[in-house]
Subunit: 420 residues, 2 copies
């Protein structure tokens, strides 16, 4: 497998660079994740190209087709990134009890819904005002909807504030956000391809997505409490860890099959298992996987950033406008859901929901493949996804400082009076 | 990254199948690795095709070129397999102290050398006797040389006998075997491409390979003893684990860059760190990575087996003949190096060195690309590599039974009088 070995070199560079720069960022008082994203941008194929460029073995495997070899290398790295973010959200889930989530359930639902509604309406209205066709405007509106919670979850964990109420509201809202995003994508895809909304299909997908989430969260938690001890009967080594990882991969794949984000499945798997995490020391035992795999998500995400997109004269104005709308409407929409909490809590929730990551790209690329979104607007969405991802870690870190410095018991005070 | 998510499905199937079948094999008293290999064969693209077949997202990414999409999926899976076997040998290294290796050093060197010489001479002679050209015969001879120690290392660990003297001799011999194999490949590649041997180049590669091994094993061990405690000054989480994993990846990549097997570098990294493994609980902390990643190597190796190769009428006779020569000459050659030990120990060492895995394929494919090895002989080498890999686990398990059942203190007795 000489080609596979050549990919090891990329993984080595990414891992060492992530950890070195992470160390530097921790020393200057910033979360490691910011360093990982930035070093990814620098090392990536669009900048210094230390990674992501296929070597001779790969080129040979793809009959000297550099495009195919590059795509294949990119895919191999993205699989590592995907497993990394699945492990991240699984780990975050392990630190999140269902009971604590249910306490913020309504609040999270409202944050999720308003955080979807405002960007969608504003994005669509902006495009219509700019004279774009209706269907294309709807697609751009939907592309502005879906929060990609990986970045925020990592910042929250880096800073050790996953048990703050704001963190739980964000995580819960991200689940609602993902379900709503899926439904909206189904609706506009229907409009884009057949010109009409198949109400039956939308209802079926809504039932499936809500059913999956409810069944996994409620029945799954119940089943784990009741039956997880059966792992003692297995003879394979580290059976509790193995069964946990199988659930993580299984629910991630199932969520993706339904159309939800794989990380939502992984988060729910972790939340189910949080019931027994202490008894089986799951966090401690899965931590090495976290340390090894999670950084790949962030450096590889960074490496996909093409800085030239920010320099395209034809689109840069529109890109900045759309990015500003994406940031403001999500922060305000999600923040509105936090009304009644302290200003800082509202800000944390609003900013925490801002990153869009790759979900917007998926929406835009479906629009592209249906022929209803132009290439020019696709690259606008790319800039929006990249910018919302890169801007959040430093701002969120700044906002979270008081929670980090105060002991966690004081969080409720910072966050205002309890709500449930 | 919808394409990357689609690869998650393959990883899920591989992981769950590996663990389920591993459980069954443990219950019937066999090492899990046999089950993992077999389930890989069954699930693979050449049999039931549950994995390794690109889905619609991948086909779209590669512009509906199924060959390129298939290669890319294969590459992504092989990277997981490669990281898995690197973690395996790293872990085995962690359980292997340099001092213990030096005690069996001469023995291991002789086992390695005789285990290389006999297959090479016999393979070349067989091909010449069958009327093949001299250069092609040399290539087939070299393709029979290199032991791929992953399978054996896993069986030894599954059975808990890594601390037996036979295990150390096999691991040490595999390092010598890999160095000799590299030199012979350099020599025949020179003959194949320019018709002559570049003595200076061979000497340089010999010096590099031996120097790398000696420096890493001796100076590396010394440096770890002296300086590893500096990890306390790092602020990143789990610094000892992170630094260990960086060394693992770094030496694996460096070994591969020199032309050695990546797993030799990973093994040496583990051996260096075995000095501090207990103090920093490295084994316990890296075990979850082992449980998650190592099975991928074996199921994916199994999935690459194309059973049709064993049914090709034109080549099956020659394939079986070459496989028999490969098994007998390696077992006898390596076993000769064990003279003076008990018959069982000699058998364990001989059989433990038999698997050839992918190293022979690399040699044969270089011959293929130089135009000195025919396609027909290439598939003969594939059959040899597959058969030697699949045959060893059950035989080795049977031979190792007394060591497993006896307490490990009794191993010296089983193995005959001490030699150093």
């Amino acid at each position: 497998m000489p080609a596979a070995v050549s990919v090891l070199t990329d993984l080595l560079i990414l891992f060492v660079a992530a950890k070195l720069v992470g160390e530097v960022f921790i020393r200057i008082g910033q979360p490691a994740v910011i360093g990982e994203l930035l070093v990814g941008v620098v090392l990536g194929p669009y900048a210094f190209g230390l990674i992501g460029r296929p070597g001779p073995e790969l080129l040979e495997l793809f009959h000297d087709d550099p495009a195919a070899a590059g795509e294949a290398l990119q895919l191999a790295l993205e699989v590592f990134a995907e497993v990394g973010v699945v492990v991240l959200l699984f780990f975050v889930g392990l630190e999140t009890r269902l009971d604590d989530m249910l306490k913020v359930g309504w609040r999270a639902a409202i944050v999720g819904m308003l955080g979807v509604l405002l960007p969608f309406v504003s994005g669509t209205a902006l495009m219509l005002a700019l004279g774009e066709p209706a269907v294309e405007s709807l697609f751009i509106g939907v592309a502005l909807v879906a929060t990609s919670v990986g970045i925020t979850a990592r910042v929250l964990r880096d800073l050790g504030v996953l048990d703050a109420r704001e963190a739980r509201i964000i995580l819960g809202a991200a689940v609602f956000d993902d379900i709503l995003g899926l439904l909206m994508l189904t609706i506009v895809s229907g409009i884009g391809s057949t010109g009409e909304v198949n109400v039956g299909r939308v209802a079926a997908i809504a039932a499936l997505a809500l059913g999956f989430t409810a069944v996994v969260a409620l029945a799954g938690t119940w089943a784990v409490r009741r039956w997880f001890h059966l792992v003692h009967h297995l003879r394979i080594d580290s059976a509790p860890v193995v069964v946990s990882l199988a659930l993580m991969l299984g629910l991630a794949v199932l969520a993706a099959a339904i159309g939800l984000a794989a990380i939502v499945g992984a988060f729910l798997a972790g939340m189910m298992l949080s019931e027994v995490a202490e008894e089986y020391e799951l966090e401690r035992r899965i931590l090495p996987l976290y340390e090894f795999l999670v950084p790949f998500f962030f450096v590889i995400t960074g490496s996909m950033v093409d800085p030239r997109l920010f320099l395209q004269r034809e689109t840069i104005g529109l890109s900045l406008l759309v990015t500003a709308v994406a940031i403001v409407t999500k922060a305000v929409g999600a923040g509105l859901g936090g009304l009644g909490l302290s200003v800082r809590s509202i800000s944390i929730i609003g900013v925490g929901m801002v990153p869009r990551g790759e979900v917007g790209l998926i929406v835009a690329s479906i629009g592209l493949s249906l022929g209803v979104v132009e290439h020019r607007l696709f690259s606008v969405v790319v800039v929006m996804a990249v910018a919302t991802t890169l801007i959040v870690p430093p701002v969120l870190t700044w906002l979270l400082r008081p929670l980090v410095e105060a002991p966690h018991e004081a969080v409720a005070e910072v966050a205002g009076p309890a709500d449930s």
